[in-house]
């Protein structure tokens, strides 16, 4: 751990490849938030998110020699993570997995009522996203939750610009339809006899 925290990703990777395994800890510290939160939004609960992100880091470590410095490390790491998420989501087809309540403490600027409404909204959106087909969910999370650019998403998924744009378009449409359906249903229950 002699290396300073300011060392570049590539320098750290080279140290790891030379056999200084401890340096990998710096990389984990640097990217665990990104990896874990992406996995969390894809999987919908903390346990699976932790499993997937641990596996992702192990996989990253094992394939460090294949890292292409042409891409940002974050892009490459996200590629491995999202692929793992998709694998896990595919495997759990048919099983119902609970979606976590939001772990959001708020920033204290909102009144309790506003805070409640905000949380309900988050729950609704998170629910609607979890119901989207995996390949659409992935694009929505990367673009809107992780604020990645089209180029970065293209690098991560290996898809063309047309496909990225298309998927994102379809994903938003599906999200909208799903939310409008829930809205209509809740109206139905709220106003019986109408």
């Amino acid at each position: 751990m002699a290396m300073s925290l300011s060392a570049s990703d590539l320098e750290i990777i080279n140290q790891c490849l030379k056999g200084d395994m401890g340096q990998f800890e710096v990389l984990i510290e640097r990217y665990k938030k990104l990896i874990f939160n992406t996995a969390y939004r894809m999987m919908g609960n903390k346990e699976e998110a932790e499993d997937v992100s641990q596996e992702a880091f192990i996989r990253i470590y094992n394939s460090l020699s294949k890292y292409n410095p042409e891409f940002k490390f974050a892009t490459w790491a996200l590629r491995i993570t999202t692929n793992l998420c998709l694998d896990h989501l595919r495997k759990r087809k048919g099983e119902t997995v609970p979606i976590d309540e939001q772990y959001d403490l708020g920033d204290g600027k909102l009144t309790p009522e506003e805070e409640y409404i905000r949380k309900e909204k988050q729950k609704l959106v998170q629910n609607a996203i979890s119901k989207l087909p995996d390949k659409y969910k992935e694009f929505l999370i990367m673009f809107h939750h992780r604020n990645l650019s089209y180029q970065e998403i293209m690098d991560i998924t290996g898809e063309s610009l047309t496909i990225v744009k298309n998927r994102l378009y379809r994903a938003r449409q599906m999200l909208k339809e799903s939310l409008m359906n829930t809205e209509r249903e809740s109206e139905k229950y709220a106003m019986p006899g109408n």
């Binding site: 395994m21 665990k32 641990q54 939001q102 959106v125 939750h145 994102l168």
Partner: protein, 186 residues
């Protein structure tokens, strides 16, 4: 403007690269189109919520767990050196086994007489089987030759009798047919 065109503009808006003029177009359209206005409200609200979804804290001890898994797998990992050691070990074992078989197992079997016993059993059972096959052929050919002789005798000694009896048989049949026909006519 068509709703579909507005839809495309909304996508541009969500992409974050919309001009002020285009934004105005959306607003103007939505003032007169309730369904587009509702869709726009729902979607932009959802996207805003998604963008604002808070990052959660990574579980305590995450890094340590990853590092220990990596160390653990390294202990059992197949590095080239370990593969080489395995190959050398297996090759040594193979040489040892060949030596054991050649210089211990085979001489032991030879001296114990197991081989001779096995040979005897093979010869004995082989004889039984070959005798059975031989008997079958001998008996079969004898029976066949007897049949042939019987045919020859029948043809040379009793030819007249055979022909005569066939003639009588045919004549008798014809007689019966004829009487039957006569009866039908009557």
């Amino acid at each position: 403007m068509q709703c579909r065109e507005i839809d495309a503009l909304v996508m541009k808006y969500l992409d974050g690269n919309i001009s002020e003029i285009e934004m105005e177009l959306i607003k103007k359209h939505n003032e007169n189109c309730a369904s587009c206005a509702e869709e726009f409200a729902v979607l932009s609200d959802a996207i805003y919520t998604l963008e604002e979804l808070p990052d959660i804290e990574v579980p305590e001890g995450f890094t340590a767990r990853v590092m220990s898994s990596i160390k653990e797998q390294k202990r059992f990992a197949l590095t080239p050196q370990i593969v080489l050691l395995w190959i050398i070990g297996l090759a040594g074992l193979a040489v040892f086994m060949i030596n054991v078989v050649m210089f211990a197992v085979i001489p032991a079997i030879k001296s114990s007489g197991i081989l001779i016993a096995a040979y005897n059993i093979m010869v004995y059972s082989g004889t039984i089987i070959s005798n059975a096959i031989k008997d079958f052929f001998v008996f079969g050919s004898l029976a066949l030759s007897k049949l042939l002789i019987f045919r020859t005798i029948l043809l040379s000694e009793y030819l007249v009798f055979v022909v005569a009896s066939i003639g009588v048989f045919i004549a008798a049949n014809m007689l019966i047919v004829r009487t039957l026909k006569l009866q039908q006519k009557l």
